[in-house]
């Protein structure tokens, strides 16, 4: 998509404290509502971004206050693009256990990435695993 198609964008650097992403998330939700995105889509985007931000802060940066999380969002009438990058060592998302496996069902954590993939059209990690790009296409459902 050409850069001129984006009607709103933001870039913020947030500290590694949970709750620090609230402002960028709130800003995005206001924009989605202003652009009349469906409530169902807004709920899914909110959840996916919340999970991704917590992952970056808690797992990526290990809640190290000296590390930041870099968040970039771009919004067009038909598409949302979000990039979340932490300053940690990275990880391999393929090695995250399947939380729906019966032996993992009672483990309290490990569901964030599955929820991101369920509610966004596209979720991609870089090779290092410290940067995730998510897209939501307004016309289609989750990937």
């Amino acid at each position: 998509m050409s850069e001129s198609s984006w009607t709103w964008r933001t870039e913020q650097v947030i500290p590694s404290e949970t709750g620090a992403g609230k402002r960028v998330l709130d800003d995005l939700l206001v924009q989605l509502e202003a652009h009349n995105w469906a409530e169902y889509d807004i709920h899914g985007i909110h959840l996916a971004l919340e999970e991704a931000l917590v992952n970056a802060i808690r797992h990526g940066n290990r809640s190290d206050i000296s590390k930041n999380v870099h968040v970039a969002c771009k919004l067009s009438p038909e598409q949302l693009w979000v990039q979340i990058r932490d300053e940690g060592a990275g990880f391999n998302p393929e090695e995250v256990p399947d939380c729906t496996d019966p032996e993992n069902l009672e483990i309290p954590s490990g569901r964030g990435i599955m929820l991101m993939r369920a509610f966004m059209s596209k979720v991609e990690y870089n090779d290092r695993g410290n940067c995730v790009v998510m897209e939501k296409h307004r016309a289609s459902g989750a990937a």
Binding site: G19, T100, S109, R111
Partner: protein, 121 residues
């Protein structure tokens, strides 16, 4: 009974026995501090107040993160380890979808509404 900040706790009549019905003060259960406090209060209900028959009513909840689901899983284990029963009710469709995607609808006993949950005791 202890005072609760994040929970609305009431005793109601089930079909065969008294049941503790718990509602949530927060509409959006997502920030870490709130979830920690919420978890502590839920665990207190079981471990200190010795409530063993519990219904969680989600009618006022708009949003639930996976961290909150984690607290519910731990609560379910605690209730079962104390010989009790936990049921969930009034979960709106977009939140129920989160339970379904993560297959937690197989772990928890989820009822449509509070009356159905109370009747199950």
């Amino acid at each position: 009974m202890a005072a609760y900040r994040r929970l609305d706790v009431a005793e109601k009549k089930g079909k065969n026995q008294d049941v503790t019905v718990v509602g949530f003060v927060d509409r959006k259960i997502l920030d870490e501090a709130s979830i920690q406090e919420l978890g502590q209060e839920l665990f207190q209900l079981v471990e200190e107040d010795k409530r063993g028959k519990i219904v969680l009513n989600f009618s006022k909840v708009d949003f639930l993160s996976s961290a909150a689901l984690g607290k519910l899983i731990t609560l379910d284990k605690k209730v079962k380890s104390h010989g009790g029963k936990l049921k969930l009710c009034h979960i709106r469709p977009e939140i129920y979808e989160v339970f379904a995607i993560t297959k937690l609808n197989k772990l928890f006993d989820i009822k449509a509404d509070e009356n159905a949950a109370l009747d199950a005791f």
